[in-house]
């Protein structure tokens, strides 16, 4: 019998499938999500998501809920949500607690019979890959007629790639990954300025996941601007995964907001490598373009998910990577990225915005270029 190659145990905590489902529901323009579970579950993200205009409430299952079931609480909260928020689209999301005791989300929906669509997501946090939470949410959205079969298949393929990206060089690549703050930003900025002054040729690549691009793009914008001023002879090619014609509604909106702002601020985007949800494959597109046109470039600045870019055509370049995951530093260094920096707490700052947000590395680079 075909025994699966036992996947190695990973000890560091990783993103939760429940949270992944919540963010997916937000991307689907859900107004209110009911978390069916304990009051503290997903607390931090539930709060942050409200910045994006999605309400998250909880059925607050307690010890007695675990023992006697939480059906009545779910019905009660669902009724309250309808009365209080008058939502156009509701999500109900499971948690470990409610799923283990066998709660049936659909029963509450049948009891209440809301006249708006309800996306029921039977998810818990016990999946190895958090992308599972996204898939389950999308399956329910498909069942509720909110996304098309084609979009579902597209998303599924992307998520498979995203999982592979994490397995190869990301959060799921090692038994334990120690967090790190990465290299000092002013030192790295100094080195980057040096290369620009020497008129070296550089790639400036945004390959970011969804709304995180609101801050990562700031770095690419500063790199482009500073290079223009510092080394008039230096050639910079800009690439970005800002295709506004693909993905779920929010991702399309965000792509066009960022793109317009970059263009307004004078940045040429030479190549669009994909959409904001295509970061797992846009890296391959970027790599192909590099292979065709820019193999002889001297350096590359890569923001967002730098580990999604294959190293094939980057090996001979000096690499400047900016991630928002402290556990991503070690794998990037191992891939051969010379300079790796972390924008700490980036994600929270990119929720609830529709404009580019200042980054630490961008600001550092700009300041240092003034003295140069």
């Amino acid at each position: 019998m075909p025994v699966k190659e036992k996947e190695p145990l990973i000890m560091h905590p990783r993103p939760s499938s429940i949270v992944a489902a919540l963010y997916t529901l937000r991307d689907l323009d859900t107004d209110v999500v009911i978390l069916h579970g304990p009051p503290g579950c997903c607390f931090k993200h539930a709060r942050l998501l409200e910045e994006d205009g999605m309400r998250v409430v909880t059925t607050s299952l307690d010890e007695s809920g675990f023992v006697f079931g939480g059906h009545d609480s779910l019905v009660e909260v669902l009724e309250k949500v309808i009365r209080r928020f008058n939502p156009k689209r509701i999500g109900i999301v499971g948690t470990c607690a409610s799923m283990i005791i066998g709660e049936e989300l659909h029963e509450a929906v049948m009891d209440v019979q809301p006249d708006v669509p309800v996306i029921e997501v039977e998810v818990h946090a016990g999946y190895r890959d958090n992308t599972k939470g996204v898939i389950i949410a999308l399956e329910s959205a498909l069942a509720a007629g909110i996304i098309s079969e084609a979009e579902f298949e597209r998303q599924k393929a992307l998520l498979k790639e995203a999982t592979m990206v994490e397995k190869r060089h990301g959060a799921a690549s090692k038994e334990y990954l120690a967090p790190s703050r990465g290299d000092l930003k002013f030192k790295v900025a100094g080195r980057l300025l040096e290369l620009m002054k020497q008129g070296k040729k550089g790639l400036n690549i945004l390959n970011a996941k969804k709304e995180t691009a609101f801050m990562f793009a700031d770095i690419n914008l500063d790199v482009a601007e500073v290079a223009g001023k510092t080394g008039p002879g230096s050639q910079i090619i800009n690439m970005a995964n800002l295709d506004e014609n693909v993905g779920l509604p929010k991702n399309r909106r965000n792509a066009s907001e960022i793109k317009e702002e970059l263009i307004r601020k004078g940045m040429d985007i030479h190549h669009i490598t994909g959409g904001l949800d295509e970061y797992p494959i846009a890296g391959d597109t970027a790599s192909r373009i590099i292979g065709e046109k820019y193999q002889d470039f001297d350096f590359a600045v890569i923001t967002g998910v730098p580990h999604a870019l294959p190293m094939d055509h980057l090996k001979n370049m000096e690499l400047f990577s900016i991630t928002n995951g402290p556990r991503q530093v070690v794998p990037l260094k191992e891939m051969g990225h010379q300079h790796v920096m972390v924008e700490i707490d980036l994600h929270p700052k990119t929720l609830g915005v529709n404009h580019i947000v200042e980054s630490e590395f961008g600001a550092t680079l700009r300041e240092m270029s003034k003295g140069a």
Partner: protein
């Protein structure tokens, strides 16, 4: 849609032996039958497989198997498809969750519960938590049967099960009496059935053949097809296959139940 039934009753009352004999009798009639053992002790299909123990879904999951249909669905007596969900040892982990996960997997990878004429869910004696009603909650059961003897405690359990069924808005399609030789048994069980809004569909006498066949790994249908008890199971199988009447049961209060069981 196939007929999807679940047999409930007090622990040890005879659910598994009844389920496997009914499965065998239906297979004799040419029906395609699937039996799903939902008990962690995984003893539902053993008498359809000549005493052989098949790997359970939970065993394979635990080993990290990439589970395919042929790893968990086994062909028993006259092609009856046998599945055992299995589960943890008593006192460890969460067997109910096991059932939820296994049912989900089975639905995904196998047609055994769709592309068939009869599915029998053999559940353990006590529905101790939400997981054990997963097949019902997932809409995979459309008929329930309660098995009981004429004694007070099995009837008490049967009545409790009816409470559960009515809460789940699940119909009860009949009461089966598995006799323990108690006095006035058939009348008592028949009376109980009427009181809860159902009917007695079979009276299975106590017969040592059930146990001797079982010990050798057979149903009586296979090992002793000419016996009287085999005929009883055949009749029961037939009435289950023909049964279309189900009603949400109305459970009794305890004093009524005591009165009813007074001999």
């Amino acid at each position: 849609m196939p007929k999807q039934i679940a047999i409930y009753g007090k622990g040890g009352i005879g659910k598994s032996s009844t389920a496997s004999n009914v499965a065998a009798a239906c297979a004799d009639e040419g029906h395609r039958v699937t039996i799903i053992g939902c008990d962690p002790k995984s003893d539902s299909s053993i008498t359809l497989l000549r005493g052989r123990r098949i790997p359970t879904i939970m065993d394979l999951m635990r080993q990290g198997m990439d589970i395919r249909e042929e790893d968990i669905v086994f062909s028993g007596y006259k092609g009856v498809r046998c599945v055992e969900i299995g589960g943890p040892e008593p006192g460890i982990g969460c067997a109910g969750r096991g059932i939820i996960v296994a049912i989900g997997l089975l639905k995904k990878i196998s047609k055994a519960i769709e592309d068939t004429d009869l599915v029998i869910y053999d559940v353990p004696g006590d529905i101790v938590c939400g997981g054990f009603v997963a097949p019902v909650k997932k809409g995979l059961v459309n008929e329930a049967y309660v098995l009981t003897s004429g004694e007070y405690m099995p009837l008490y359990a049967a009545n409790n099960i009816c409470k559960g069924l009515s809460r789940l808005e699940m119909t009860l399609n009949g009461v089966i009496c598995n006799s323990r030789g108690a006095p006035n048994e058939e009348n008592i069980v028949s009376g109980f059935a009427k009181e809860i809004g159902s009917r007695l569909i079979a009276f299975i006498p106590k017969d040592v053949l059930v146990q001797t066949c079982e010990r050798e790994g057979f149903s009586v249908i296979e090992k002793a097809p000419d016996s009287g008890i085999a005929e009883v199971y055949r009749k029961l199988a037939q009435s289950i296959m023909e049964n279309k009447e189900g009603k949400i049961p109305t459970p009794l209060d305890d004093s009524k139940l005591r009165e009813l069981t007074r001999i």
